[in-house]
Symmetry: D2
Subunit: 260 residues, 4 copies
């Protein structure tokens, strides 16, 4: 799929404020950025590119500020979670995958070991367990805007049985890690979201590779544009600032583009 | 059943310390205290008897102190949860029952509404819903000494799927309240506990009356000797003190007595 | 002071819904309701009056519904927290005051014992300790609308150092209970609130009586119209319902009336 | 300082169990491992060495198992936190330092921003702020064995004002991150601990480098032998296993060795 994604963020910063921005599409073999335009305030920006293709911008801004980004992304090489795939032994996991086995800010996976193994432990191989977790979420948790807040963790979502995309992702991650399946959070541009917004989805490591899944089932993985990955939402905010700031407006648009 | 219950508590108090003790069997028509001996330090004690038969002792103690209590209790009039009983309309509940519909320290029942109604809402009348909650606990939560601590609430137990008697009771109460069934915590002397200790069980209000149930299924309700009731464990501690103190030893014994 | 208080609540209930309403001014010697008008949907209402003067309405409503209340209240006998007053020994507390020494849903006072005693323990008598707690809150916690949510407890407010009236009250209550001062939450109509809304304040028991204090310092105690009291916000909601419902509009007005 | 550190761990594993071990001294210019002996069960072990010198062992074990390690470590090049050092601008931080600015499982630093900046924000440069945090911890938090459990986070320690080494470290990290100072958790062998055990300390990034500090002030930094670093205790366990296991015995010894 070829996707056009854009974001226009307007914020007000009372004084000079350090910010980190993660709004650019990641660059990777399964997600080729064919063109992009970045419109930032005219200050020095430091750009880091991670091995995963994640790009992070750092700068200092002040006053009324607009951050705009548009990209055309070719996802035609994206492969979807296959019908089967082994649960990897710890010893076979690449070292940079190990942190995604451990509990994190919003994903206290250590607390879910008993429930996860009892409920999903016999589902089959790694992919089958991931699918069982996703099915369980679809059946037992409701997508309810406003039901959670920025501090909500996966334990509370598990009790509440309601949440938004980041809550679904945190609970999916917690359950997978409790099953010994490495799992991480991914911010993304996604088709079909109503209202359009940044999306939070999940990546799981089975059968020797990372695979995107959307625990909310709201957006097709084929058209998903990955931005950043991390242990949970604490790591993948599109905007982090060292002072409080005020959002003036925010518009995200994602469209499928005809393939010629 | 006729039951003999006793407790001998030895504590060390570094200085003059205010204490509240709730170790006496409650007196009620379904639990007749036929004899009792209370052995307390020789200081003034204030005794309050609640409408429920709950008895609370208040005093000031110091140094190495022993509290001893023995009672013979006739529970032959105790009635067990009947096979059916209506879920009461709010308007029909006695006013003093209403607090037991609301969330409390360890029972954040407001967070369980979605789960409880989806899981138990169609189980039938009030008693059937209570039974469904108890069955669910028996199937999904393990009794694991050491798995929780004094600050553990029902949300954490729900995630963990493990706990001790107070955790079972807190989760049972939370689920019942989320179903509109008034529920409260009861401290008790109970037969068959290994090792013997104070027990925490649940009372539910259905069909116009309070009924004892033991969510752990460890002890028979017929032989249970109620001590105190409250919203949760915060209200029914056998010993509350306004200064830290050290437990030296604690022995609880409960025996069935032959009926002559 | 003579105060006129009114509330008009409009709600939408999808189906027959049980509700409890606590919107009427409590009746007590220091708060005389000289006239009141209650406009409720035309269904049976059960009214309970507690020993404290608290009035609770229970009924079943459906569809678009309006609850309206207006009262004129004479608070001229209200006495304010005196300059001194003893911290009561446990043995001297009336029995119905004891629950307000214990931790509750949003006030885990057991966790604050070390901090409270170290910070306020030497402030003087009971009133002096209460005043020290209120001064501390005014200096260390900011009133920030939107900084908390319905599930926020006093521990989180203590860390965050920000909250709204119910958070201030929960933290004040937790600190007082940790100091052995009975404390409870009170819902009220209050002058000077911007925007006007129901207010949550605190009552402390020192020198043998309950005294109203406003930890936010936003409203004068002389003009406060008490509605209900309880262990914390879980007990004093102006509207509790057994089904989700939608607020359409809500208007609270409180005015001082000239004394003739 | 030259230090000899050793650990002997005996565990019982009911069945084949995947484990990760982090018990070896890290190798780095300020911590030279001059000799070491590792005695592990005779199964294949995968060893990873991180850029920081951290060494992680992965294997599968079963039954009664002993892990033993002894090392002699030369810390004479260790430099201590200097009297001054700048708080780095975000743009000047190495990319691999950024994760240590963000909240993690036990360090919800986002909740401490208001308190930390108000209390330590004016303390001076980066080092001065770190010292102010450490002084505050020494004055306000008590070292109390048994006061916390494995799930305790920095918010609860902040309320409780008591904890053990991991709690001190989690609170120190949370406060530093809230001040924009990157901070991480370090497991270590430490002199002078009573009883001897693995220790948890803190590293802060100021003036362009990481510096070890011990928020408990129980052990000298000169003799500290770093094992592993991570966002918090979730990342630096000396033993992680995918099945429950039973500790049989555990002995840690750390001794200063005469320099010849």
């Amino acid at each position: 799929m070829i996707v056009q994604a854009s974001a226009v963020l307007e914020y007000e910063f009372a004084g000079p404020t350090q910010v980190m921005l993660e709004i650019q599409a990641a660059t990777s073999p399964d997600q080729i950025v064919t063109s992009e335009v970045l419109n930032l305030p005219d200050v020095p920006w430091r750009i880091d590119v991670a091995a995963t293709g994640r790009r992070r911008l750092r700068g200092v801004v002040c006053g009324r500020v607009s951050f705009a980004y548009t990209a055309t992304v070719d996802n035609r090489e994206r492969r979807l979670l296959p019908p089967s795939g082994r649960l990897e032994a710890w010893s076979d996991l690449p070292e940079d995958v190990l942190p995604y086995l451990l509990p994190s800010r919003f994903c206290p996976s250590d607390a879910f070991i008993r429930f996860a193994n009892r409920t999903f432990g016999d589902a089959g191989d790694g992919v089958a367990q991931v699918m069982a977790v996703m099915d369980w979420l679809a059946r037992h948790v409701d997508y309810v805007p406003g039901s959670s807040m920025a501090q909500t963790d996966a334990e509370h979502t598990f009790t509440l049985r309601a949440g938004v995309c980041r809550d679904f992702t945190h609970l999916a991650i917690s359950l997978c890690r409790a099953l010994n399946i490495p799992a991480r959070a991914v911010s993304a541009y996604a088709l079909d979201l109503q209202p359009p917004d940044f999306h939070a989805v999940t990546e799981v490591f089975v059968g020797g590779a990372w695979w995107l899944v959307d625990p909310t089932r709201l957006a097709p993985v084929e058209g998903m544009v990955r931005i950043a990955e991390g242990r949970d939402a604490a790591d993948i905010a599109f905007l982090t600032s060292d002072q409080p700031c005020t959002m003036i407006s925010q518009a995200v648009t994602v469209m499928r583009q005809a393939e010629t």
